[in-house]
């Protein structure tokens, strides 16, 4: 544990309680009586060494030379007395790192790779995250939400981002187009056939060469065939859209963990700032902030007020695509007289 702040090392497993003196600051008290203040700040995750060295300097100057990163790419500095908090915050501010992301705030968005690095993305992650976090700066630096808001992004339908209170995902809307000349060369055909969740792919001979063909009636445009067979182009600058999902939750706190549910789709893939996405996200956050009760996560809130009211409050359209027709669809139907007016 040499990389851990000595205060944490000393009180390892011996913490007693905590509170949050202000947004971005946690205060933990150990059984030993020792106390630690943690200051949390946002980063761009995709960090250049200059920015990292800046964080190291801040650690050296203000925080005993230690720092850690959270599961959401926020950085945290620990100090042993209350009076060291303000200068630390000031320094972070000077260097452009927003302090916040604690308690009932909107914390950093889970960040995936996108065009910057991945081989299968339909959109960028860094750009989407930056655009959204810019617009959510107030919500990051203030604790004004009913509970924590965890937003996730994914830059293809593989979905490396996890479940989120709000998830911003790619949704392809057309079956893959196939470059038949390349299939024989680069794709292991039986493996590709096996990957398709709807058995829509079958081996075929095209232009005299072994290739694959897709039954467009069965295809659900999931893109699972693309990674093992890049000639099956699923990404499309126009038809790969963004979709917004809400109510995912990992914690078993109060309610059981839940999957996020589709609410908006058909949003254009619109770099560099994806304004349509930002708009929908703010719309949803606004409704949640104004209407949910304390401690209700997004999905818990909707569970109480009902989906009809969610669509009403947000003005989002409700379509046939919202109605599940995949396996396990039956439990998603309303099998009761519980109806909201």
């Amino acid at each position: 544990m040499p990389l851990m702040h000595p205060l944490l090392r000393r009180n390892y497993g011996q913490w007693k309680w905590h509170d949050r003196p202000r947004p971005g600051v946690l205060h933990h008290v150990a059984r030993s009586g020792e106390e630690v203040w943690t200051v949390r700040a946002g980063t761009q995750r995709q960090l250049d060494v200059y920015s990292i060295r800046t964080l190291c300097e801040i650690a050296d100057t203000h925080a005993d030379g230690f720092l850690r990163f959270t599961t959401r790419s926020n950085v945290e500095f620990m100090v042993g007395s209350a009076d060291r908090v303000a200068p630390l915050i000031e320094s972070l501010g000077e260097h452009g790192f927003p302090v916040g992301g604690t308690g009932p705030s909107v914390t950093m968005i889970s960040h995936t790779q996108g065009w910057l690095h991945c081989d299968i993305p339909a959109t960028d992650a860094s750009g989407v995250v930056k655009s959204l976090m810019d617009s959510l700066h107030h919500e990051f630096t203030h604790e004004e939400m009913p509970n924590q808001v965890k937003i996730t992004t994914s830059c293809c339908q593989i979905n490396c981002g996890g479940q989120g209170d709000i998830a911003i995902n790619i949704q392809h809307t057309k079956p893959p187009t196939i470059n038949h000349d390349l299939v024989a060369q680069v794709c292991e055909r039986p493996a590709v056939v096996a990957r398709c969740p709807t058995a829509a792919i079958r081996p075929a001979v095209v232009n005299g060469k072994p290739s694959l063909e897709v039954d467009e009636k069965k295809c659900v445009c999931c893109g699972a065939c693309f990674p093992p067979c890049p000639p099956m182009r699923i990404n499309d600058p126009v038809h790969s859209k963004l979709a917004i999902w809400v109510g995912g939750k990992h914690s078993s706190t109060r309610t059981k963990p839940s999957f996020h549910k589709l609410v908006a789709a058909g949003l254009p893939n619109n770099p560099p700032r994806w304004p349509e996405v930002t708009e929908v996200v703010h719309n949803i956050l606004g409704a949640y902030k104004a209407n949910a009760r304390p401690f209700e996560r997004m999905g818990e809130w909707i569970g109480r007020i009902g989906w009809p009211r969610f669509f009403e409050l947000t003005g989002l359209p409700f379509t046939k695509y919202h109605v599940d027709d995949w396996r396990l669809a039956r439990p998603s139907l309303n099998a009761s007289t519980h109806v909201y007016f």
Binding site: T198, V263, F310, Y321, V323, N334
Partner: protein
């Protein structure tokens, strides 16, 4: 010399105990030497005792009917008729009772009289679907028995692949929770579909049930293909004085534990002055608070029904509950009732056209998808029909913009009645 009573040592053990004994009843019929059915009931007891001994049933089906009807008689022939010849034929006539199963003593006695003449003297009040079941009739007696009952105004109920006999809860007749006239709705629909009851030619059976509220005293949600429930759209009516009286009488803790805390959507709050606050927008009309505080709370005045489709029992996919297809339909004027009939008619037509043989409507909806079904019966999609939107991305949505346009159009239009 009269036929001797069979020895029924096992059945005899069912004569003791505080609950009324069907065995005692059967024996009394068997011992009614002055009645035509005595020999039949002796053999019936004999066969039943045999079943108890061997743990085996001895009836087989067959086809028996009355003129002009294709259903309503459940034919039973004994597989051990050599031993028990008198009850070799033991058919049931399913008879539709009055809605709410109300009887004058007089009408009930008349039924008994006819049944003593033609049948076994054994009547089930009622079958699980709601029929009066006159159990134990020889083939030759079925027609005359039916004729006499028919003259009294009774008709045969359903069986086979047709519309079945329907039930409604006691509702309007004696229940303050009732939000529409269940008996009226049931009569309207059943009368309209009489032909499909009597001459079954559907893919499979289809049942209607009518409950006046979410308490579902008719078991509609799971035991009927077309389930209609009373509900309301406006606010719960609260008599705050009466509410406070409850608090005063039972205490705040009682009120919190038994009412406030049990609201499924936390729509209730106890104010500091012991009055009640209701968040009606979050109320799902579950009835709980109204059930408990009968003197203080009542359903609102803007009443109507919620319709669920597809409840059924076990065969072949496992039990299904119904699914909401009409979140609300007002149920005030005669036209409103006609509209409900219209929905029923469209559901029936679609079922006939699209279900596979021996496929209940719930299975069909599952097979073709709720959305296609709604389109088929010309009902608009509504978020009240689902517990939650899809949690998976396995769907092709290139028609998104069009669907959004449809929704916006509907939202802009004045609310249609059958929504």
């Amino acid at each position: 010399m009269s036929k001797p009573m069979p020895a029924t040592p096992m059945l005899d053990q069912l004569e003791s105990g505080p609950w009324p004994s069907f065995v005692t009843g059967l024996k009394r019929l068997a011992e009614s030497e002055d009645k035509q059915y005595a020999p039949m009931m002796k053999d019936l007891l004999g066969q039943l005792e045999r079943s108890y001994e061997t743990r085996t049933g001895y009836w087989k089906g067959g086809t028996v009917g009355v003129l002009g009807y294709g259903a309503g008689i459940i034919a039973r022939f004994s597989e051990i008729a050599e031993e028990f010849p008198e009850s070799a034929e033991f058919h049931t006539l399913r008879i539709i009772p009055a809605p709410g199963t109300h009887y004058s003593a007089e009408s009930l006695r008349q039924i008994c009289d006819v049944w003593e003449k033609y049948g076994s003297g054994l009547i089930a009040l009622h079958g699980q679907t709601g029929d009066i079941m006159l159990q134990g009739c020889r083939t030759e007696n079925v027609q005359p028995c039916f004729d006499e009952l028919n003259e009294m105004g009774f008709d045969l109920g359903g069986a086979g692949a047709g519309i079945r006999t329907s039930i409604s809860c006691v509702g309007h007749a004696r229940c303050e929770h009732s939000c529409y006239d269940e008996a009226k709705a049931m009569r309207l629909i059943v009368n309209n579909f009489l032909d499909d009851i009597h001459r079954p030619s559907l893919p499979y059976k289809l049942k209607f049930k009518f409950s006046g509220c979410a308490n579902d005293c008719s078991n509609a949600v799971h035991r009927s293909d077309f389930a209609t429930f009373g509900t309301w759209r406006d606010d719960i009516r609260v008599d705050q004085q009466a509410f406070k009286a409850y608090v005063e009488q039972n205490g705040r803790k009682w009120m919190i534990d038994n009412v406030i805390r049990l609201c499924p959507t936390d729509a209730l709050s106890l104010n500091d002055d012991d009055s009640l606050e209701v968040d009606n927008a979050s109320c799902v009309r579950c009835m709980h608070c109204i059930n408990v505080l009968t003197k203080a709370l009542n359903p609102g005045r803007d009443r109507g029904v919620t319709v669920l489709i597809g409840g059924k029992r076990t065969l072949k996919v496992g039990d299904l509950m119904g699914t909401v297809v009409v979140p609300f339909m007002p149920m005030k004027t005669d036209e409103d009732y006609e509209k409900l009939l219209g929905v029923a008619q469209r559901v029936l037509d679609f079922f006939v056209d699209n279900a596979l043989e021996h496929e209940r409507i719930g299975e069909m909806v599952e097979r073709i998808g709720l959305v296609n079904f709604l389109e088929g019966i010309e009902l608009d999609l509504d978020p009240n029909m689902i517990s939650h939107p899809r949690a998976n991305s396995y769907v092709r949505m290139d028609g998104w913009d069009e669907e959004v346009a449809k929704w916006r159009e509907r939202k802009a239009a004045p609310a249609p009645a059958a929504e």
